[in-house]
Symmetry: D2
Subunit: 282 residues, 4 copies
């Protein structure tokens, strides 16, 4: 007798060994609270960007939202419950957008791409959540005096780096108000475009929809906040020989005209969520 799928359980390929193990489902259906972990060190910089260039990267149904910026963020995550206390690193590129769906307008931060250095969260993030995660190597950040350098490479070819200079500790309580971001249109969270191709049918999809990671993090505590005087980012133009699966992405990002850095911070947080609140936006 073949096996049957258990109702209301999460599955991923291979489905033959029972419900999947991942961030939202452990052994025997165990859930992860994400209170004492994970620990996250985020290095983030926002740059003014060109409206036309960014619009060309939005799927149908999206429009750009002011301020026209690109956000680069490196995340160095440890103490992750579902990985039995291990960690991984990420490097993302996003931009503020509005999605015009059947539900009405949703203001959010659109993830253009999210590199990660471990395959397991890439697979679950793509298939469970619709996040456009792909692989690269992301070494631990370099801390040199009050500067921090983050890097991303693929098969030994460094294609991106981000350096923040003259970091100074600031009070998380007063930071938002001072920086004026308190008055901006609030973001509903991260927006993603999930796309799964239909096997053997070029141009057709098993799934093509928008997902939202709601901006609600009750268990996350900011432990430290540092602000930088300046930030320098760099995407290095590559050949197909150097980046055969990434060259179109990296060279497109390398072509973006980035302007002034409007914010550059390093944040240490503890706690998170299992992201089971990520949902389809109709």
């Amino acid at each position: 007798m073949s096996y049957l799928f258990r109702p209301n359980h999460l599955y991923r390929m291979p489905t033959h060994f029972g419900p999947s193990l991942g961030a939202r489902q452990g052994v025997n259906g165990r859930r992860y609270e994400c209170i004492d972990g994970p620990n996250d060190l985020v290095v983030m910089a926002t740059f003014k960007a060109n409206k036309e260039q960014l619009e060309a990267l939005l799927p149908p149904g999206f429009s750009l939202r002011e301020p026209y910026t690109v956000v680069l963020d490196f995340s160095f995550i440890t103490n992750i419950e579902w990985l039995a206390g291990r960690g991984y690193n990420t490097f993302g590129v996003s931009t503020p957008v509005t999605y015009h769906g059947k539900e009405g307008d949703v203001h959010g931060d659109f993830s253009l791409v999210l590199w990660e250095n471990k395959a397991d969260p890439i697979i679950t993030g793509r298939e469970d959540l619709g996040v456009a995660k792909i692989y690269c190597e992301i070494p631990e950040p370099q801390c040199i005096g009050n500067d921090i350098i983050c890097r991303a490479s693929w098969d030994g070819f460094e294609f991106a780096s981000l350096k923040l200079s003259n970091l100074k500790e600031v009070d998380p309580e007063t930071f938002g108000a001072e920086s004026g971001t308190a008055n901006a249109v609030p973001s509903a969270g991260g927006l993603y475009y999930k796309y799964i191709p239909k096997t053997g049918c070029p141009g057709e999809a098993d799934a093509a929809y928008v997902t939202l990671m709601p901006e609600d993090w009750p268990n996350m505590k900011v432990q430290q906040l540092q602000q930088a005087d300046a930030a320098v980012s760099r995407f290095r133009e590559a050949t197909w020989e150097q980046l055969p699966t990434l060259v179109h992405i990296v060279n497109c990002l390398s072509d973006l005209t980035l302007g002034e850095c409007t914010q550059a911070i390093v944040v240490k947080t503890c706690g998170g969520k299992d992201l089971s609140d990520v949902r389809i936006v109709h």
Copy 2:
């Protein structure tokens, strides 16, 4: 203005930078012929297995096919065109089955799981083809005299190994006939169960169907064939702490009662295909 999807092109997340680069589509829609490459070193052993144990690993619609065996195969692939001449390694577990679909019965080799050591082919294999690829480390094989040892680990924990002993070169021309496999029911190819979860809807799927990789390899040439006297395989039972995303898979395979080794070979081949013939089986 947002971008539009180009008809009949292959896309994968992130879709925002244009059609995807992968095995079946290169820069500017280039296709890969797979004549002078890839080079593949396959280390493969077949073991008699327990019918009931194997049946419990088959999705609905499948039944076990004689002989009741499990095939373990390590593949060390180099010179891959779509990776600009790079390579990667795989470790698969499969069993002969028949799929009873609307099209009628399809006899094939069902892939229970396929580990690979590079994220890019994992992503494209899962989403484009429906192959249940997951990640592990697969070091190059150890060649000691006439023996060969293959290994698989995850985050430094070796969970599987396969050793073939006393390899002797045999003639590929006469091998099939001698070994008696010529008379078996021919396999239509590899069978896979594609399953993509629907975001935010536990128990629901964006895709849940069977795919077939047809047994048709016109460009593949066998360059060398070696037969072993014996083969020993081992799955090492693990804890959740050791393999938090794989423990259910590895321990299930570790529990399988494997019998006599009925065939153990090492094959070197050149050439392949871009797998664009993989199709849904209704």
Copy 3:
């Protein structure tokens, strides 16, 4: 004209490109202060051990010192100045000894072996300092609730692990007195046996002497101290095929009869020294 060695400068192979870059000498002879870094997370456990077994591991001139113990310590070091803010991990085995040299008796902690996961500090540590550093993979520690797990593997084969359970924070100020170690014979520091073979002359040495890393760390600050209820260590016996360069070391350590765990702690420190005070003990 060939080059000349610059007097009083540190050199390592290759010497042809000028004085070496390392922990004790940077570009243009720069020195590293080691005040704001490195950051070190040390996971350490002490076990009672068998006198005869340990004595057999001591070079001529050494005798064992009470208490007869083996200390296992994993170190996860970040923010290292001479690596431009990078880090690396170590796993060491040591035992208290007395060295009876011409200078008189020196009480210290003898390093039997020190595994590290980066080649650069291994090379400088062996040649500049005489520390018996060798290579293995040391992944970041796993933090699961109040437990911590450390692991060491070589080419994907996990040969050692250390787990501390029920960690509780304690006051560094009062810890030494409480634990009774305050009354023990003070250690002069780490003791090492430097041995460099003479090329082409089996049994002869270019160097064979004892070195000392003095127990003097004025710049090191303890930031956090945690004590565990229990510790479990494990060396996994290996074959030559699994560990062709380490099998004699790992199996010897695996054969040690370890008794009660007398202390198990996790310490976070900041600051260190460039180890230029390491000296030969005559």
Copy 4:
């Protein structure tokens, strides 16, 4: 009782666990014949170079030998007996020299630096043989049509590459004569400058002498030889932040003025030696 060193045995740190395991000594003193292995794929290119620049890289006692060239060679070695059938990769830079020692003049090929991607052979090569081996990542070569690309990186920063184009198979028997190298002054083998610093004594050395790897390889068989039309090499200039331990080496090599490529070949060989014939040159 402490242990005693066994006469005529090879030792390396740590010496406490008995004679070392390595290329020239296995378990129970076993020796490795190196007849059926290792397998070596060598990608090598010779470039005309500037005499003054090269001379500045020679230690006292050496002079440059015509033709004034730099040889870059990548080696991809598999099936190594002393590593139980594993392999590793190397990237070397060398130049023809004459050493003027007490024994008289020795014409050889001076190794300026040899990068390797595994720590174990680095350690044994430095200490047993005096070869200036240091670490970097060396991925498998990329084979694209009739071109081959080799690369070297450190912590994800690619600092060197070598590309050979339009490879064509040639007859190993007639190759030497045709290329005119048959008439050159024969090389006695590889020359190395061994230097081991004395601990705690900047400017002093435990060892500082020249070693020779004799040009005598009775067990090595050339299996295939390919000649390229052209070769392009590149050292990428780096900052201290990018290569804190290598910057002086890489930037010096990057500054070399390389001229015409006089030979570019790919050689596949089988068999070697355990290098126990490497000796000090007085």
